[in-house]
C-alpha cells in the first residue's frame, strides 16, 4: 500500500526525510533549495522534531552534527554557495563518523553564479569539497519519486555507515511537479545506527579494528566519549602515532569500498543490445532518456546508464559496459566532471564524448540525439 500524491521534488525530499526518521533540520535560506526548509519547518514539529534556521551554513552543518550526536537523525539543505560553507564541518562529520544528510540543490556557479538557473557543477565538489583525502557517498535523483526514495536511502546509508551522505539535486529536478508514491511506513526500509551493547567501560566509539562499522552511542546514554576533528585512536583520543593513523586510513577506505553493493544504485535502460551508451544523472538523465527513445525510433542501438549513486563512482558498472560498448556519450551541465571519470574507467576501450553546457540552460533531448545520430552516420 502507498499513498500517491503530487509534489515538487524539494517537497519530496522533505517527505523522504520525515519518512526516514529525520527529526532535526538546521539550515539557511538559499535558492533553489529553500522549499525543503519551508516544508520541514512545518513537518518536523508535527512529528516531534525540531527545525531551526541558523545564522549561516557553517552553523547549520555544525548544528546538524551536534543534534546527530544527541541521537536525532539530522539533515540540512542548501545550494552551491552554502555548500561551499558547509565543507569545513562536513569534513568534521567524515572524521568523526557522524551520520547526517546534506542536500545540495545545484545552481550555476562559481560564486553567486546564476542563482536561479540549473547546473550540475558541484559533482566534484561533492567528492572533494572538504580538505584532505576522504571517502564520501553522494546520491542524485532525477525525478520527484527518486527524490523521495533516494532521500530515504541517503539517511539509511548515513546511519548504516556512520558517515555524512550528500544528496545532490538541481534547479530543474527541484521544480518538477510529479506523482510520488509514499509507501506505508510498514513497507519502507528504514535503517537506524547501531547502538553499543557492550558495557560503557568497554565501548570503543571508533573501533576500526573490527570488521564492521562501530556502533555510535548518543550523548546522555551512559557511553561517554570524546569526538574530535583531530585524527584519533579507537577510543577517540587524539593521536599522532603514524601506525594508528595508517590503520585509520585503511578503515576509512574499506568502510565504504567493502560495501559498494549496498551503496551503488543505477538504472540500465535499453542497454542490452546497445553499441552506444549515454551516461547521465539528475535532470540531464531526463533529456537523455527521451533522446534514447527518439534514437531508438530512428534505429540507433543506444541505451542509457542512469547514475543514482554518483560517489563512490560505479567503476565496475562502466567497466563491464566498456567491453561491449563502442561509444559513451556523457551529457552534463558542467564542463565534463563525470566524463573524466568515465574516461578513466573506459581506459581507451571505447570513445567517450561529452555534451556540456554551464550557461543556465538544459541540454535538450534533440541535442543529445544529434550527437548520437551524427557520429553513428560518420
Amino acid at each position: 500500500m502507498s499513498t500517491p500524491s503530487f509534489m515538487h521534488s524539494n517537497q519530496a525530499i522533505a517527505e523522504g526525510a520525515i519518512a526516514a526518521g529525520c527529526r532535526f533540520y538546521a539550515g539557511y535560506p538559499i535558492t533553489p533549495s529553500t522549499e525543503i526548509a519551508e516544508s520541514l519547518s512545518g513537518r518536523l514539529p508535527e512529528v516531534g522534531g525540531v527545525y531551526i534556521q541558523m545564522e549561516d551554513e557553517i552553523a547549520s552543518m555544525a548544528a546538524v552534527i551536534g543534534a546527530s550526536l544527541g541521537g536525532l537523525k539530522s539533515a540540512t539543505a542548501t545550494s552551491g554557495p552554502g555548500f561551499s560553507l558547509m565543507q569545513e564541518n562536513l569534513g568534521f562529520a567524515v572524521v568523526g563518523e557522524v551520520p547526517c544528510v546534506i542536500v545540495n540543490v545545484q545552481r550555476v556557479g562559481p560564486s553567486t553564479g546564476l542563482p536561479t538557473k540549473v547546473a550540475q557543477g558541484d559533482v566534484m565538489q561533492a567528492r572533494w569539497g572538504t580538505h584532505g583525502d576522504h571517502r564520501i557517498i553522494t546520491l542524485y535523483p532525477s525525478s520527484a519519486q527518486e527524490a523521495f526514495d533516494l532521500t530515504v536511502k541517503a539517511f539509511n546509508l548515513a546511519e548504516r555507515f556512520r558517515t555524512p551522505v550528500i544528496l545532490l539535486s538541481d534547479a530543474v529536478v527541484a521544480g518538477l511537479l510529479e506523482k510520488v508514491d509514499i509507501p506505508d511506513p510498514a513497507d519502507l526500509e528504514v535503517v537506524s545506527r547501531a547502538r553499543p551493547t557492550v558495557a560503557p567501560e568497554q565501548y570503543r566509539p571508533f573501533d576500526y579494528s573490527s570488521s564492521d562499522i562501530p556502533p555510535l552511542a548518543e550523548f546522555g546514554s551512559g557511553y561517554r566519549f570524546h569526538i574530535t576533528g583531530l585524527l584519533h585512536d579507537e577510543s577517540g583520543a587524539p593521536t599522532e602515532d603514524s601506525e594508528v593513523v595508517a590503520r585509520w586510513w585503511a578503515y576509512m577506505q574499506r568502510k565504504l569500498d567493502d560495501h559498494l553493493d549496498e551503496i551503488l544504485d543505477w538504472d540500465e535502460i535499453l542497454l542490452d543490445d546497445a553499441d552506444t551508451a549515454v551516461v547521465a544523472y539528475g535532470c540531464t538523465a531526463r533529456s537523455a532518456e527521451h533522446a534514447v527513445e527518439l534514437a531508438r525510433e530512428r534505429g540507433h542501438r543506444v541505451g542509457l546508464l542512469k547514475l543514482k549513486t554518483i560517489w563512490p563512482f560505479g567503476d565496475a558498472i562502466i567497466d563491464q559496459l566498456a567491453d561491449r560498448i563502442d561509444r559513451f556519450v556523457v551529457p552534463e551541465l558542467n564542463l565534463g566532471q563525470i566524463r573524466l571519470e568515465v574516461q578513466r574507467v573506459v581506459g581507451g576501450r571505447a570513445k567517450v564524448e561529452g555534451i556540456n553546457r554551464a550557461d543556465g540552460l538544459q541540454i535538450s533531448p534533440e541535442q543529445i540525439l544529434d550527437v548520437i545520430a551524427e557520429k553513428a552516420l560518420a
Partner: protein
C-alpha cells in the same frame, strides 16, 4: 586544595589523557578545575553533562573531562552546542572557547546563540592572544599589546565581550579571573542552575607567549596582577572586597543590576562577578521541543 577535592576531581578527569598540552602555569588548568568543581557541587551525573569546545589551547579542554565531549572546529562550538541542546534539552551543555575562538572566527555563532537564548554555559577564556599558533594578536589584545603579529603594539581597538552581551540581551553575564577560583566555581554553578545562555568571561594568563612579549613572563606575577590591577567599579562591592573586577571599556558597573536586590544569593554572586542575571525564561531548546509536542 583539600584532599577531598582532589579525589573528587579525579573522578571527572580522563586521567589517561594527561598530561595536558598546556604550558606549566597556564590558567586553563585552573579553569578546568573550577568547572568540574561546579559540576560536582551541582550534583550532576557525568552522563548529564556535555562539554563542547572549539579550537585552540582552550579547545583542548573537552578532551580531558569525562563528560560527553566534542572538540569541534574553530569558532563553531556554540553552533554544535545548539544542535546538541535541541536534541537533548535537559543536558547541561558547557561550551568552552578562547578569545579568538569565540570573538573572532566564531563571533557570529556566539552572537546568535546569545540572541536565541540557547541554554548553555558559555565560558570564554580570555588571555588576549592566540596561544596554540604561537602568540598572534587576538580580538582582545589591548591597544599597545605586543604579539608576534603586532610587534610594535596593537593599534586595533579590542572587543568588549560585556558590551556585546548586553547588546544581544544575554540573560546572564559574569566575569572572573583565574586568581578568583572560589568565585569562578560559584559563577559556573549559578550558570548551570539558570539553564539559559549564561556567559562567563574568564581572564586567564598566557605568560609564555603574551606575558613574555609584554614584560610579565612569570605565571605567578601575571595571576597576582589579576588581583592587584583589577577593581570593582561599584562602591558597594568595593566595601565588600570580593571582587569581580575589571573596569570595562563601556564603564559598566559590575553587579549594578543586582547588588541591591535584597536577595542574599544574588548579592553574593554580584560580589563574585555576576554583572547581570536576568534569567528566568526558558531557553530556546525547551521552547522548540514544547512547541513540537503541542503540534504532534
Amino acid at each position: 586544595m583539600t584532599l577531598q577535592t582532589s579525589l573528587t576531581l579525579r573522578d571527572y578527569i580522563r586521567v589517561e589523557r594527561l598530561p595536558t598540552t598546556w604550558c606549566a602555569g597556564c590558567g586553563l588548568g585552573i579553569i578546568l578545575n573550577c568547572i568540574v568543581q561546579a559540576v560536582d557541587h551541582r550534583g550532576l551525573e557525568k552522563d548529564e553533562v556535555s562539554m563542547v569546545s572549539g579550537i585552540g589551547c582552550t579547545g583542548r579542554m573537552s578532551g580531558y573531562v569525562d563528560f560527553n565531549t566534542i572538540h569541534t572546529t574553530h569558532g563553531r562550538a556554540p553552533a554544535f552546542a545548539t544542535g546538541l541542546k535541541m536534541a537533548q534539552p535537559d543536558m547541561t551543555v558547557l561550551t568552552v572557547m578562547g578569545d579568538g575562538d569565540a570573538m573572532s572566527i566564531g563571533g557570529n555563532h556566539l552572537v546568535h546563540a546569545m540572541r536565541r537564548n540557547i541554554g548553555m554555559v558559555a565560558i570564554v577564556v580570555n588571555n588576549n592572544v592566540y596561544g596554540l599558533t604561537g602568540g598572534q594578536s587576538s580580538p582582545t589584545t589591548p591597544i599597545g599589546g605586543v604579539s608576534t603579529t603586532s610587534k610594535a603594539g596593537s593599534i586595533e581597538r579590542p572587543m568588549d565581550l560585556e558590551a556585546l552581551a548586553r547588546t544581544l540581551r544575554a540573560p546572564f553575564f559574569a566575569r572572573a579571573t583565574v586568581n578568583h577560583t572560589a568565585s569562578l566555581v560559584k559563577l559556573v554553578e549559578r550558570a548551570i542552575e539558570v539553564d539559559c545562555f549564561a556567559l562567563i568571561e574568564v581572564i586567564s594568563n598566557c605568560h609564555i607567549l603574551y606575558g613574555r612579549m609584554n614584560g610579565s613572563p612569570d605565571a605567578v606575577d601575571m595571576i597576582a596582577a589579576m588581583d592587584s590591577e583589577t577593581r570593582p567599579t561599584n562602591p558597594a562591592l568595593e566595601r565588600r572586597k570580593r571582587l569581580p573586577l575589571r573596569v570595562t571599556s563601556s564603564g559598566t558597573k559590575i553587579g549594578a543590576d543586582i547588588v541591591d536586590s535584597g536577595d542574599a544569593q544574588m548579592e553574593d554572586l554580584a560580589g563574585r562577578g555576576v554583572i547581570w542575571d536576568r534569567t528566568g525564561s526558558d531557553d530556546l531548546s525547551h521552547r522548540y521541543r514544547d512547541w513540537a509536542k503541542r503540534q504532534a
